[in-house]
Amino acid sequence: MSDNRLVLGYDLSRDFIQISYMQLGSYKPETFNFRTDKELYNMPLRLAKRKGVNQWFVGEEAISCVTSGDGIEITNLYEKVMRGDTIHVSDGAETRDYTSAELLGLFIKKSFAPMGFVLGGKQIEALVITMSTIDQTFLAALKEAAGMLKIAQDRIFYQNHEESAFFYLIHQPLQLISNEVCLFDFTDTFMTSYRVTMNRKTKPIVTKIARMEHSGIRKPEEDILQAQKDAYYDNLDQALLKLLGQSFADEQIKSIYLVGSGFEGEWYQKSLGFLCRDKKVFGGDNLYSRGAALAAAERISPSAISSEYVLLGKEKLQANIGLRVLNGDEVVYEPVLDAGTAWHEAAYEKDFILVEGNEVEFIITPVMGGNVRSVTVELAELKGRPMSSTRLRMKVFMEAPSVVSIEITDLGFGAFFAPIDQKWVKQIAIGEEDE
């Protein structure tokens, strides 16, 4: 029964979080409003501890607690997690050190508290946490933090904003995404754009998202004088118009998405006028969290739509990696890692019997053209064993976006042949020829 089952998308930014939720199978995510008296979809990323007691507050409650003098704030939590800091909390009555991951976990757990009536009685099937970029240090902390949630760890996934945008877009009507799409993100100080191209000549449809930072388009300083604001925004509108003119010179882009608090207000009328001449323009703040919720649903129960597309980005594996293996008397292709897998999720582990020879050959097939190549791991120390009397454990994983690591271990063959004390390791650069 799908009524009871929800998936969640959690957008974690430097300054705020946002949560979207969706009934599994509906493909209609909703974004949680943290206030009943007005629209407030973003909860500030603020954490505070009440002095003298073990009571913590998040978001606006944390701000109130600190403002009233009752609490101590954990400032710059996001940056502290990035650095892996140990955070020293002293409120006069108690002094204690916390890891940044612990406090991040506390924040995330408490951020779900206001959703009691939405989540109550429901089964959370999956959670996708999305961020601007996936950093290895932050990811490790995030995984530790997510361990504090009452959701099975194998049902919690992590992806960047590009991937969340991808899942959002593929669930849009086809006429909106049949040409190139452009997304302008003005959440942070500087604008970022994402140009989405979908190659509909390939099967599945290979989607690439090119990200660009625009240092010339920035929000005004917070302390800007009112008198200067109009002029600043006027110049900003001009700068944006110029950028748009350059971006759309080839006229491939027909749909535009404007995301982030930087697009609040009416300062960009000229730019908007330019866009609306021949393009469809959409605005909003919740594209990433909704995309993350859709991604969560796809993880658990892939739809026909998602199987038509594959996203390739710099955080994705750009090639299919496989082996040729005997299945009975027949040689079959065994997929090891699939193109489009996020590098931090790429993992494969399986045992094989080495029938004959002493090497293992991997086949690398780039998905964006290029030659199919093979990479061989020599197991030189394995000699003298009869046919089919060696059990190998093969692990394949990625520690960085374009490097695949292979580890092969001899498990021996029970009482017949003891394992040799040897692990064969090889790294393959994807996107470059192997040496």
Partner: protein, 280 residues
Amino acid sequence: MSKLKFCVGNLAKKPYYISQARLRIYSMEELCYFLCEYAGLLDESLMDDNLIAWIDTQCGMSELSKQLYQYAHFNRAVHTFAYAILSAVAYRPETEIRAICQRIEVYETLDTWQRKKTQADQFFKNKQYMVALEGYQRILLERGEKEPLSDALRADIYHNMGCALAALFYYKQAAALFHEAYLLKGYTTDLVDECACMKFALTEKEFESWLEAEQIDARVQGELTKLFVSAKQLFEQTTVHEEFLQADNLIEAGKRELYQEQVDDMIRQIMEAYQGYTNF
């Protein structure tokens, strides 16, 4: 080009003990290896409910275990039982599996003593020399009491026992058995093997005296020389010989520590192999 195949079933947390071979197995592939390499040992005791249960619960091969249960309780043919396992795992090409099962079928038709000899030969072939010796001795004693063994069979047993004892460095005992085999069958090779064992057992001077005392003729001595030359040539093609040369190079280069490491490793391997010969 190398070939890989998928493993079938799970790696067992608890092994199965095969009493005929005194071995523990942990996977379907190890079971198949046993069936292929120890075909001579196989008899009805293979079709054991405990093995079938192990295949089901430890290896996760429920469908196969149901099939094997039928064979064990209604068919009772060892070669059919073995075929089902080897095919399910696809351990070897189909033609090889059939050939192995045909051998097993032949063994099933042997009488008790022929089968015991085959089993002892199997242990001998797999270098489980102590177990093989035990098997041969039992045949000589138990079968010998009931009805006389033929000279040919006795000679074969003595010869194999001699080889097993020689591998275990019991040269004088091995020489005595080769001598008995020679007396029964008259094969020069047994006489040459006797001489070879005595050459290892005695000093050079003692061996010269022994040759004279036994009146070993020049032809046999010539064959002995050829045997040692041939053995030396074979040895020089082995990896052990290569390792000896490497060790020599290390000592010549003054790398005493590395030399010691290499030699220690070689000795350890030889000791481990010897342990395998003597395991019960």
